[in-house]
């Protein structure tokens, strides 16, 4: 759809100022709006067509004017026309919508990650640098931000209308969404999946800052401990390091560099180690026995919060000591780990 850039700018400005249209505050928003206007257009055209047909025929063939009906069986040509034209339009919409979907849900590889935990009834955001926020989220402009989200209880859904992004936040499973904010300001975060009593109070605010302001905010609001550092402390306090010590004699596999690699399991399958796998291996270890190890790890289900799991996962992700050296040293224990370059192979 070609539209003069000047006219487009004018239109966007006008729309952004209008109370009947959400602001366009992310790089995705203009793409979503373009499809929206196309759909609006075909709806209006379709409705007008149906209206013209009904009113036209009603006036032309009303009983006073046309007392005897002429019986018509049908018309293959006409029927083929109104089968094929809608079908073609819907297929265009399908392809356009699919392209937009992939654009919205496939994050760029250089995205900065922030964790979000949804619980009745708040959003808890955790930045890698250890900043924690509740019902608030600070992000910089111009940098793709990926949110890795999980719910601690029921389904929630994370939505920023002015960014045109939304994703379900699911208990027991990480889901992700990404965006790149364009305009500094504050925007609503809504929970859009009904989650019980205070569903409508589960509203947050995303504050978009310029990169400089964001750096300032990061400095000022850090708790001093990054997520990985929190995770390290948790790792020690829960006794994980007793088995996952990284030594050849350890009862559990070495975790250094495991993130992003392919792991051979006792049952013969291979898994890609990502956030979801690590979380599940902590909660349901008996279902993920690394080849060469005894199934002795207890479950940590119920002993560790989603926040804690995020810290642990961040810690394991950060364990990037020389992977190849480690592998050589501990061939007998982590022997099945497929040779990959940690940190590069990502799901």
């Amino acid at each position: 759809m070609h539209i003069s850039p000047v006219l487009w700018q004018f239109l966007v400005k006008w729309l952004n100022a209008s109370a009947l249209f959400p602001r366009e505050a992310s790089t995705i928003a203009p793409y979503a709006d373009a499809l929206y206007f196309f759909l609006l257009l075909i709806t209006v055209v379709g409705l007008t067509l149906v209206g013209i047909l009904i009113f036209g025929f009603s006036i032309r063939y009303r009983k006073e004017k046309h007392p005897v009906a002429v019986q018509v069986e049908g018309s293959t040509l006409l029927e083929a026309t109104w089968t094929i034209i809608p079908l073609a339009l819907f297929l265009i919409v399908f392809v356009w919508g699919a392209l937009l979907y992939f654009r919205i849900y496939n994050p760029p590889t250089n995205a900065m990650n922030i964790y979000v935990v949804g619980k009745q009834w708040m959003w808890k955001a955790e930045h890698a640098g250890g900043q924690h926020e509740i019902n608030a989220l600070h992000v910089p402009t111009g940098i793709p931000v990926q949110l890795t989200m999980i719910s601690q209880d029921v389904f929630h859904s994370f939505s920023i209308p002015d960014f045109r992004v939304k994703r379900e936040v699911i208990p027991g499973r990480y889901s992700t969404v990404w965006f790149q904010a364009t305009t500094p300001g504050t925007y609503h975060i809504f929970c859009t999946q009904y989650c019980g009593t205070n569903h409508s109070a589960m509203i947050g605010e995303v504050t978009v800052l310029t990169p400089d302001d964001y750096a300032k905010w990061t400095q000022e609001s850090t708790s001093g401990m990054s997520l990985a550092q929190n995770g390290e402390r948790l790792f020690a306090s829960m006794g994980c390091n007793a088995c996952h010590s990284g030594s050849a004699a350890a009862r559990g596999p070495n975790l250094a560099g495991v993130y992003g690699s392919k792991l051979q399991l006792t049952n013969g399958s291979q898994v890609l180690v990502n956030d979801a796998y690590l979380r599940d291996a902590i909660l349901n270890p008996s279902q993920h026995i690394t080849a060469g190890y005894a199934p002795i790890m207890p479950t940590y289900q119920g002993q560790i919060s989603e926040d804690g799991l995020i810290d642990l996962v961040e810690y394991i992700k950060a364990m990037q000591t020389n992977y190849r050296v480690q592998q050589t040293l501990t061939t007998s224990t982590s022997n099945q780990a497929a040779p990959t370059t940690p940190g590069v192979v990502k799901p």
Partner: protein, 557 residues
């Protein structure tokens, strides 16, 4: 018979001065004769009274919801109460009104007559299904009286199983039982349509109302058991914690979504298809024309029913289904929209070269065409993957759904009730008042739901008890519209009630329609036909009708 070989005959006034002495209404007296009746027409009347009762209960909750949303603050009721309101509104309207509305009332009354049969195949099962409807309805009401349920009509786990202290199991039991009522109705229709058609009533001579109810019956019989299974699993999960949906026990909460929408998407077609059948009958009758492309309309109903089973995951595009399965479900959703588009144009072209009059049912049918077009097209917005991300779970969904279900289904239901009211009761309703009601409903409806599309694109989430103040203007408009809509719904209740006693006598065929139901007395005899009719003409054959009437005039004269 050539198209122009007949001119309109000056027909004598068919409206006899009295209601026929013997008819299904006065054949037997007393409450018990109704409660133990096997007559499909009486059961239809029982259903009509019941669903009207539940419609106004569901409507009252809708009114309370709109009233609360008049202001951004949560000031009318507490959050829990509000949540119970919209849950009850959804459960009552969907399971106790929309699903049974046309099939159980008009379908029950008309299908046997339309095909020349004396009753449905299983009269006692038919009565049983009404009792099941009421037992289920009472469970649902019990859940309400005991303190309500706040799951929403979707009973989403793990919210419904682990995080609510309301009467989830009671309400789910109600819906479970109502489901069997729906299965029995569908089964009865399928068997009746296969086995009990009068001689000469071939499949392609069936009125389209029968085709669309047939398609809906297939969905009821195949889809509803999945809902029943899902609700049993929810109840077991809640009562004994079996862990099918609970991630901490190795279950999968997304499994619930799959199971639930596997029923609940086809259920949308269970609700709308019978309404489409009504529209075919009404538009044909008042333009005095055979439905344009009869075969295409008949097959598009069946196509909708079959495709309807393969689109459920479009409710889950944002839930982390894989990108590629999302692609498939989006494509299938686009395909299922095509038969609906075909129908719209076929109905519009039925008017072409007709001889159109604008009685109340026709006004409702025109309302249906406009509103269903908007409802259908906004469905395409939601089927388009990337667009769905922004629009889903907002008021856009609420508006879309109500355009299809209320703008489409309810308009069709009202069209059908007005159309067949003379046949069911033997009396006419006041014409000007009924036209006023149709117009009021149409205006009120648009005023209520058009602002919600804009609210949705602005991002206002659905099921919100309180909302940011910038959304207030549109919400006030919507509430104002709901008030007008409420008046539009009250009017028919009043004048149809009035007409039962004071309405003009209708006569056998006040609309000069072609269906078999119009060739018998109004109200019909208990046995419908004294002799089994032999059908020798296509559906909507107005030339046959004029020929027949002319002959009758000659005979009588």
């Amino acid at each position: 018979m050539s198209a122009t070989s007949y001119t309109i005959v000056n027909l004598p006034d068919q409206r006899t001065a009295t209601i026929p002495k013997r008819n299904y209404l006065n054949n037997e007296d007393g409450l018990l004769s109704w409660l133990f009746t096997g007559d499909h027409k009486r059961i239809a009347i029982l259903y009509l009274i019941s669903i009207t009762f539940f419609f106004f209960i569901g409507g009252a909750f809708a009114g309370l919801i709109r009233l609360e949303l008049l202001t951004p603050q949560p000031d009318l009721v507490a959050s829990d109460t509000y949540n119970k309101f919209f849950s009850m509104h959804g459960i009552v309207m969907i399971f106790l009104f929309l699903v049974p509305s046309v099939p159980a009332t008009l379908g029950n009354f008309l299908i046997p007559i339309m095909i020349g049969a004396k009753d449905l195949a299983f009269p006692k099962v038919n009565l049983l299904s009404w009792y099941l409807y009421w037992i289920g309805g009472l469970f649902t009401m019990a859940a309400l009286v005991l303190g309500g349920v706040d799951t929403g009509w979707t009973f989403t786990t793990p919210l419904s199983t682990h995080y609510l202290n309301t009467h989830v199991v009671t309400a789910a039991t109600g819906v479970f039982i109502i489901g069997f009522s729906s299965i029995f109705t569908g089964l009865n229709f399928i068997v009746t349509l296969h086995r009990m058609r009068a001689p000469g009533m071939t499949w392609f001579r069936l009125p389209l109302f029968c085709w669309s109810n047939y398609a809906a019956s297939i969905l009821m019989v195949l889809g509803t058991p999945v809902l029943a299974i899902t609700l049993v699993l929810v109840a077991l999960e809640r009562l004994v914690g079996i862990g099918v949906f609970d991630p901490t026990k190795g279950g999968d909460p997304l499994l619930f979504q799959h199971l639930f929408w596997f029923y609940s998407h086809p259920a949308v077609y269970i609700m709308i298809l019978p309404g489409m059948g009504v529209i075919s009958e009404v538009i044909s009758t008042f333009s005095r024309k055979r439905v344009f492309g009869y075969t295409a309309v008949a097959f598009s109903s069946v196509a909708i029913a079959l495709f309807g089973f393969f689109v459920w995951a479009h409710h889950m595009f944002i839930m982390g289904v894989s990108n590629y399965s999302a692609l498939v479900f989006s494509l299938l959703t686009m395909l299922v929209a095509v038969p609906s588009a075909i129908k719209i144009f076929n109905w519009a072209f039925t008017l072409q070269k007709g001889s159109i009059t604008f009685e109340t049912p026709m006004l409702y049918a025109f309302g249906f065409l406009g509103l269903f077009t908007i409802g259908g097209m906004t469905g395409v917005f939601l089927g388009a993957l990337g667009m769905d991300i922004h629009l889903t779970e907002t008021y856009f969904i609420v508006a879309h759904f109500h355009f299809v279900m209320v703008g489409g289904m309810l308009m069709a239901f009202l069209a059908g009730i007005h159309f067949w009211w003379p046949k069911m009761t033997g009396r006419m309703y006041p014409e000007s008042l009924s036209k006023l009601a149709a117009v009021t409903t149409f205006i009120g409806f648009n005023l209520t739901f058009l602002p919600q599309f804009i609210l949705g694109y602005l991002g206002m989430p659905r099921r919100y008890h309180a909302y940011p103040p910038e959304f207030q203007v549109l919400n006030v408009l919507s509430t104002a519209g709901a008030t007008v809509l409420g008046v539009g719904y009250m009017l028919p209740l009043l004048y149809l009630g009035w007409s039962l006693k004071y309405g003009a006598i209708a006569g056998n065929n006040p609309w000069q329609a072609t269906g078999l139901e119009w060739q018998i007395q109004s109200p019909p005899l208990t046995e419908n036909f004294i002799e089994t009719p032999v059908v020798d003409h296509e559906a909507y054959d107005y030339e046959w009708l004029e020929h027949k009437t002319a002959q009758e005039v000659t005979t009588v004269g």
